[in-house]
Structures are given as structure tokens and as C-alpha cells.
Amino acid sequence: MTTAALVHVVVSGLATGSIYALMAISLVIIFNATRTLNFAQGEMLMVSTFVGFTVYARAKVPLVVVMLVAVVAAALLGWVIERVLIRHAIASTPFDVLIITLGLSLVLRSAAGLTWTHDEFPFPSFFGDRPITLGPVRLVPVSLGIIGASLGLMWGLWALFTHTRLGRAMRAVAQNQRAARLMGISVERVYSASWVLASVVGALAGVLIAPVIFLSSKMGLVAINGFIAAVLGGFGSMPGAVVGGMLLGVIENLAPLYLPSSIKHSVPFLVLIAILLIRPGGVLGRPARRKV
């Protein structure tokens, strides 16, 4: 294995990892507001991307427009789901909400199959596949583009959470809902905003990854890796989600290079179990301590 090949594989892993990180961020945003896992995150991504694709297939609009359509569709989808399904159930246990999102994932995947068939479709990309040679290494625009766009999006989210009223309200709700309410924050609005934001981040991830793994009703399965990434980094922490995602993407790519095929596919899960046992709070998370 040459250095150039190794660099390429690692960069490719970072690109996939960026998508995992975005998925992890979406999951964390919803978890912080609703205190539940959103099983339908991947399917929401898939449906929004499909909506964008439909417009593209019909009208051949520029990719930026496709992306905007996907984002608007995602925002609408997130808002409707939160208002119609989640808010009613939020009073009962988080387990009920868990099952609702599970049901939703089945419904969305099946509905997508009925609308767009279960076929796979090529999706247009902002970035090319042809490598650029930079000294000893060759880099592929699509990988760099995904990494760059994801980092940009993450920076935007960071700005949102630290510099806007809404972002601060969301962080307050994540820390303590009752206190937030007493401070005069409309917790309901934060719920809505969280679902919309998570859905939009998912849609952007979808538009970025669809050219690589293709658009299909099963592309939502990428969310499983998002879950793992979020836990690797420490669930609830945004920087953790980013680190977890990148880590997972790189591990997934390096394991097949150096390990026998009998265990290489288990490596991400073994790493997850190991990290949970050594640092239960994840790489960047605080170890969970319960106070009596």
C-alpha cells in the first residue's frame, strides 16, 4: 500500500465520516429537545432528498435549487411530524415516542418505495470524481467537497447555537426544560425548531451523500452509523458527534486494510463496545455520574 493510496482511503473515510457526523448531529439536536432517539432520521433524510430529486428529474434545475427544495421539504416534514405526532405523545413516556418514530421510519420508507419505487437512482453532484494530483498524494474533489461542506455546515450550527437567541434557547432546553420554561423560553417553539433544524441538517447530508451511495429508499440506513457515531463521541455533545462521526468513518476504512476479513466488518461495533466500556460517556462526553 502506497502512501498516496493510504491518504486517499483516509480522506474518503473522513468524507463518509462527515456524513455520519451530520446524522449524529441531527439525532443529538432532537434528543436534546425531545429526550428520545429518532428512528426516522434516516428516512426523513431519504424523503427530503427524493423530493429534491423529483424536481431535478422534472425540470433539470440547477443543483443549488435542488438542494433548496430538499431543505424546504425537510423543514416542512420535520415541522409536521413534530406538530402532528410527537407533541401529542410527548407527555407520555419517551418509550412511546420511540415507537412512534420507529413506526414513522417504516411508513416513510414504504411510502417512498410506493412513490419512487425501491430502485436506486444516480444523483447529481456538486463535485467531480476525477482526482487532482497534489505532489505525492491524489485527492478527489467529491471527498474534499463533502468534508468542506460538512465542516461549513457544522460551523454554521455552532454559530447558531452560540450567537442566536433560538440557539441559546435550545441549549437551555437541553440542559433543563423546567428551568428554561421558568426563564420564559417557549419550550414548544424549541421542540418545533429542533425537529425542523435536525431535518434540514439531514437533508443537506442527504444531498451530499446521495451522489456517492446513490438515492434509494434504503439510503436512510446510514442513520444507524449516525447513532453509533453519536454514542462514540458522547451522546448529547455536538463536538462529540463530529469527532465520533469522523472516527467511525476512518475506522471503517482502515480496518479492512489491516485486519483479516473475518473480523473487519465487526470492527466499528467492537470499537463502540470498547469505548463504551472504557469511557462510557464517549470520547468527548462527560462520564455519566448520577447524583443522589
Partner: protein, 305 residues
């Protein structure tokens, strides 16, 4: 205890193969298998609040153990195969449960999810033992001179085992262990304060849960007759979680009801082909919106009001 109700129920279970069309005998066996898993999972999740997304992994361990035992030693009584399956799964449960003590909530859920994936990978790669992706044909279960070669025979096996497991679960609640688990369910902190050894009982819940699922796995192997890694994917684990939540957390009858409802529903929707997941998902959502807390709490409300 309401003996008449139990007697009527038992009579119904015995009469089922004569009353129902043949296919429903097989389906009933699947219901029993899933009910045992649901009880096991509920003992873990409903009592000690440890949610597992890896029970398909325990089911696989049980199923493969029973199938391998029955293949290696032809003619071994099915009871021995099931016991081995139970012990195998319980052992794996112990190995997973002890380290998982440090985890809770989401972290535990993720560790068990990863466990489920690792089990499937192990089945795929231990080809000399499991025949990997080719799948493993399960020999006919034997009980002394009888070969349990028909769906009816296997149904009775499943029902007998299932009844024993339900009885054990209902009685477990009345033992010292059961009371400790109940105390943990109400409040871990209070339980600890009143002298319940939290780590011990949480591990025990894990082991018992795995044991139940292992028994169900053994039955699954004989009832279905063919095992392959595709059977035990993460969605199956999620189905089990759905069963106990739809049935009602912390309730043994609720587990059985949840397993029965979802198994029959899933099966009867198969004819809707590509609409099946849509309808199944929509019904899951509806049940949670209109019946929060699951079947058990709906029944409780009906009785109360």
C-alpha cells in the same frame, strides 16, 4: 389466582390445533416464541429500566446453540437442546451484562445494538460451526421415541415451554429477587438505600432476560427449521422492543399480548406486499397515540374506570 380463567385458557391452547386451520398452528408457535422473548426483554427493560436493542443477538445465540446441539448429537432430547440454548444465552448475557452495568439509558441501548451486530458477524464468520451465510438446517426435534415432525407437535412443545416460562415469570415477581427488581423499577436510589445490591440484581436481570430469549431461540430453531444470519438483523431486535412497549412495560401479560398482537399483525399484513411496512408502521404510531403506555395500561384504565 383466577383458576377458572386459567383452566379455560389452557383448554383453549390444547384445543387450538383441532379448532384452527393448520397454518394458524404454526403461527401460534411463532407467537409463543416471541412472547417468551418479550417476557425476557420486559424483565430487563420493564423492571430495571435497561433497554436492549440486541435481543435478536440472544435469540440467535439460543437458536444456533440448540440447532448445533441437535445436529452434533442426533436424537438428543429437545429438552436438553433447549436447556443448552438457555444456558448458552445466559452465559453470553452474563458476559455482556457485567460490563454493561456501567452503562445506562441510551448508552446501554447502543452497546446492546452493537452486540446484536457482532453476533450476526460472528455467525457469518464462524462457518465451521454455523455454516455462515449458507444457513443451517435444523434437525427435527426429538423427545424420547417421538420425533416432533409436525407443526402440531412443535406447537405443543412451544406451548408447554411457554406456559412454564410465563409461570416462572409470574412467580419470579414474588421471590426475593422479584421484589428486588420491583424495587429497582420504582426507584434505583430508593432500592439501593433499602439494601438492594443494585449491581447484582441488574446483572441478574440481564442473565434471566438472556436465558428467556435463549429458550425462545431454541424453540425458534425447531419451529422454523432453518437458520441464517439474515433472520436476526437489528430490525428484529427493534420489533421485540416494539412488542413490550405496545404490550406495556413491566407487565408479563402485557408482554404476551404485545407479542401476540404484533406477530399476528405482521403476518396478516404480508399479503399487502409493498404496503405492509406502511400499514404496520401506521398501526404502531396509532397504537401509541391512542393507547399510551401500551395494552397493559389501557386494560388497567378500563378496569379502573
Amino acid at each position: 389466582m383466577r383458576y377458572p380463567a386459567v383452566a379455560i385458557g389452557a383448554a383453549g391452547l390444547v384445543a387450538w390445533p383441532w379448532a384452527a386451520p393448520p397454518y394458524f398452528v404454526f403461527l401460534a408457535s411463532l407467537v409463543v416464541v416471541n412472547a417468551i422473548v418479550a417476557i425476557g426483554l420486559n424483565l430487563l427493560s420493564g423492571y430495571t429500566n435497561q433497554l436492549s436493542f440486541g435481543h435478536a443477538g440472544f435469540l440467535a445465540v439460543g437458536a444456533y446453540t440448540a440447532a448445533i446441539v441437535a445436529t452434533r448429537w442426533p436424537g438428543v432430547p429437545v429438552v436438553v437442546a433447549l436447556l443448552t440454548a438457555a444456558l448458552g444465552a445466559a452465559l453470553v448475557g452474563l458476559l455482556l451484562g457485567v460490563p454493561c452495568l456501567r452503562l445506562e439509558g441510551l448508552y446501554l441501548a447502543m452497546a446492546t445494538l452493537a452486540f446484536g451486530f457482532v453476533v450476526v458477524e460472528a455467525i457469518v464468520n464462524l462457518e465451521w460451526l454455523t455454516r455462515g451465510n449458507d444457513g443451517l438446517r435444523v434437525p427435527t426435534a426429538r423427545l424420547g421415541p417421538w420425533a416432533l415432525a409436525t407443526d402440531t407437535a412443535r406447537y405443543y412443545l412451544a406451548v408447554l415451554v411457554g406456559a412454564a416460562m410465563v409461570w416462572a415469570a409470574l412467580n419470579l415477581v414474588r421471590t426475593r429477587t422479584g421484589r428486588a427488581l420491583l424495587a429497582i423499577r420504582e426507584s434505583e436510589i430508593a432500592a439501593q438505600a433499602s439494601g438492594v445490591h443494585l449491581a447484582k440484581y441488574k446483572t441478574l436481570a440481564f442473565v434471566i432476560s438472556a436465558l428467556y430469549t435463549g429458550v425462545a431461540g431454541g424453540l425458534f430453531a425447531f419451529v422454523v427449521g432453518f437458520l441464517s444470519p439474515d433472520a436476526f438483523d437489528v430490525f428484529l431486535s427493534v420489533d421485540f422492543v416494539a412488542m413490550i412497549i405496545v404490550g406495556g412495560l413491566g407487565s408479563v401479560p402485557g408482554s404476551v399480548a404485545g407479542a401476540a398482537v404484533l406477530t399476528v399483525l405482521n403476518d396478516s399484513l404480508a399479503g399487502f406486499q409493498n404496503y405492509r411496512p406502511l400499514l404496520f408502521g401506521a398501526l404502531l404510531i396509532a397504537s401509541m397515540l391512542f393507547m399510551p403506555g401500551g395494552i397493559a395500561s389501557a386494560v388497567r384504565r378500563l378496569k379502573g374506570g
